[in-house]
């Protein structure tokens, strides 16, 4: 191997606002670094080929697939996972709406769903249900049938935009 190629990589980045320094195998993807090295098990590995969205986390403010990103590529990045987003309160309204509307069953997809939903509801506008469905279409949920998730996100988007929620009627 050429001396320029490394099999282990030294990294410095921030996770949930905390500085992290660690050395990881070069082939280790972000989701494994979060789960195995940093013990942040809230995000899940569902398919490891970029389709299911369970490993979706925020890198520099944007959603990424934790399984399609090598940790080695993230030197200097700012990473947020469900643990940090919970502690900061950034998605408290989304989380409350998911619980209220029962927009989760087994909960395995939920941290990824919340990460994807976060970037939609913080746009400030109220997306149509079709737009919510389209935006969330990269996150697989086997349990809910999606409607409750769409409802919860719609409620939060409307509340954030100061528009009255209209889907609470489904919660009897």
């Amino acid at each position: 191997m050429s001396e320029h190629f490394r099999s282990r990589i030294d990294l410095e980045f921030t996770v949930n606002g905390e500085a992290v320094e660690l050395t990881v195998p070069a082939g280790r993807h972000l989701i494994d670094v979060l789960r195995l090295d940093l013990e942040l098990t809230g995000s899940h590995a569902g398919c490891e080929h970029g389709v299911c969205g369970a490993c979706t986390v925020l890198v520099d403010g944007q959603t990424v697939r934790g399984c399609l990103t090598l940790a080695a590529q993230l030197d200097g990045a700012e990473i947020w996972t469900v643990e940090g987003l919970t502690e900061s309160g950034a998605i408290a309204d989304l989380q409350a709406a998911f619980v209220e509307r029962n927009a989760l069953q087994c909960g395995y997809c939920t941290p990824g769903m919340l990460a994807s939903a976060k970037t939609l509801v913080e746009s400030g506008s109220v997306p149509s249900r079709e737009a919510i469905r389209e935006h969330m279409s990269g996150n697989y949920c086997r349990c809910t049938g999606y409607e409750a998730i769409v409802d919860a996100i719609e409620t939060v988007a409307r509340t954030r935009a100061g528009v009255e929620a209209r889907v609470e009627a489904k919660v009897r």
């Binding site: 080929h49 069953q105 939920t110 919510i132 949920c141 086997r142 349990c143 809910t144 769409v150």
Partner: protein, 793 residues
Amino acid sequence: MTIRFEDPNRPNSYIGRTVPRPNAGKLVAGRGRYVDDIVLPRMVHVAFVRSPHPHARIGAIETGAALAEKGVLKVFTGKDLAEICTPWEGKLAHLQGMKTPPQHPLAVERACWVGEPVVAVVGRTRAEAEAGAALVEIDFEPLPAVTDIRTALDKGTPVLHEALGDNLCFRKSNEAGEVDRVFAEAPRVVEATFKTARHTGVTLEPRVIITDWNGADGQLTAHVSNQAPHMLQVLLAGHLDIPESRVHVICGDVGGSFGLKVHVYPDEVATAAIAKIMGRPVKFASDRVEAFTSDIHARDHEATGRIALDENGMILGFDVDDWTGIGPYSIYPRTSAVEGLQVTNLIGGPYAFDHYRCRTSVVFQNKGICAQYRAVGHPVAVAITEGLVDKAAAEMGIDPIEIRRRNLIADDDYPKTTAAGLKLEGLSHHKSLDSLIEAMDYEGLRAEQKDLREKGVHRGIGIASFIELTNPSPFMYGIGGARISAQDGCTVRMDPDGSVVALTGVTEQGQGTEAIMAQIVAEAVGVSPDLVRVVTGDTRVTPFGGGTWASRGAGIGGEAALQAGRAVRQQALEVAAAMLQAKAGDLDVRDGIIVDARSGEERLTLAEVGRIVYFRGDTLPKGLPRELMQTRHFITSDYPYAFTNGVQASYVEVDTDTGFVKLLKHWCVEDCGRIINPLLVDEQIRGGIVQGIGAALFEEVCYDASGQMLNGTMADYLVPMSAEMPDMVIRHVETPTAESALGAKGAGEAGTAGAPAAIMNAINDAIRPLGGTVTHMPFTPERILRALGTITD
């Protein structure tokens, strides 16, 4: 004591209300604890070398290179594990004539499907175990494969297991009346063939197990993503020769199950056997690619069906020949015959008629093992039934609603035993249909459909009535000798401060078991649900039970919880009566306070009862029972199953140029008896419908003729995603079962049972005027265009 369910203002009226799920908060915070989140000291990881061949003799196995790989600790073959783990056979004694050969944790002589585990490689990390597995060399000698269902029993087809003589696992015909005569004489006979595609569960959390053998303590611990912890306890104990009391199975948070995680898997048993050999924790976390080949499959059915009617469109009988391929082994311990068996029971289920024949032929093939998966057999039976009913209606010029009105069993005609032999306690087909018609504005939709058709827009409305089997008794598995429990239990304990812990044998996989148990126990004891802590999925602490499958959690586990909670309440009242020098019968518990039952006057808190019982028992009369912990078990006995019913409707638009189907809306009215938590029931139905939509439009495990799987990733096995799914309107009718005080039946499978048929009928309603019908699921754009004759080559 009966609960006045009809009075929503009764004290402690938690049953029947939407209350939030107590375990949802941790899940949205990422604080769930799924098995793959668990890391134990000295834990190692196993990866499996799986057969790349549909059928092959296993020759020499070269493991040297794998063992030399950095981080690889051990390599095990089938012969190694066979020394400490006995094989199993997925058979039930009451399924006469059933055959299946012994199955080992790792294949020993032959590999019989692509994905069968053959060699296990243990490494310090999963990555190292995988790297080692890639270096194992197995000398496979390919053997001829059986793949086609209909020719599996032909003379020219090779026999998959020579010792069994042929490829027939099981065959049964359910027959009543005079089928041949009636079909020969009937004014109208309509026939069609149906196919339901082979599916797999695609739980978002793949299967995962950690097993640990503590030799010093003689104890096996298994953390596993599973629906039936006690079943697994018993079976692991049996095959690894450990007393059942020394096998501890823990099912914490489970990332979806749907029946996929109620079976015994060879790789999971292998993981336990390896832990027993290595004496340290071993984790097996299935990855997605091996999930596609090693998780159970389901629904691979082909059927020819006939319906006979009189000149008024009254159904005279059904005659169905169903065939299903189940892979090379019958699943353990439930068997792979039950899906076909269900089809023979459920055809024509909602309708009144006298002449019935349904035969199922369950054959072996070199593909993944098929087994019980959400709504076992129902989607197949409902599709055949409702496809035939709609085809008959179309041919006779009868509206689809009208033909159902004429033939659905009358709501006052119960109890009833159907021609297929099902004992029905009480159903509400007509009430449900009325509610559906109103909910969807049937006439309005028909008018809109007609208008749009004139503009070249092809929309269709599809209806599907169904029954669903829930709350199974031992008639399902126990009588066949399987160590699968149909009873279930709950222990309720009041702690000193008056809060309550409920330990239940049914499990939580997201349905909301913990929420409904908290509601039931709260109402039974007389405390607020947020004071009830529910514990599930731990064989060491919960009463022995069956777990959660076949929509049994609410109806069976719930009744046990209700009775245990009431027993605790009664004990608390006895103690309070002694303290107050009153009669227990004059007191009640309301919201944690002992009150005078008549006036409602507050007398004493439960916390005071707890303080006295646990810390100042000396002040109570000697000999006064003071057990604030009570266990009750419940089993159904009047009926083998509690059937539920419902009806679904689908509204679709078919692009007749491309064959694409757009789902516009979906409705379901269903009757699961007493509803404990309306929101949770609605979401069970919605989730189930979308799983059924997957069946109708997207999902199909594809194999080539040689038995190679063609689409084993999530990029090409299409599951339903949010963008294409419709909004769904859910309504209920409540016909409680009289078998229990609670009156609950199951609600977990109704959505999945009926949705495929509703969508099939809707598509056919849209395209029938153009001369096409589809009955081969999934209804891909291409299949629709072929039905229309647009594509012919």
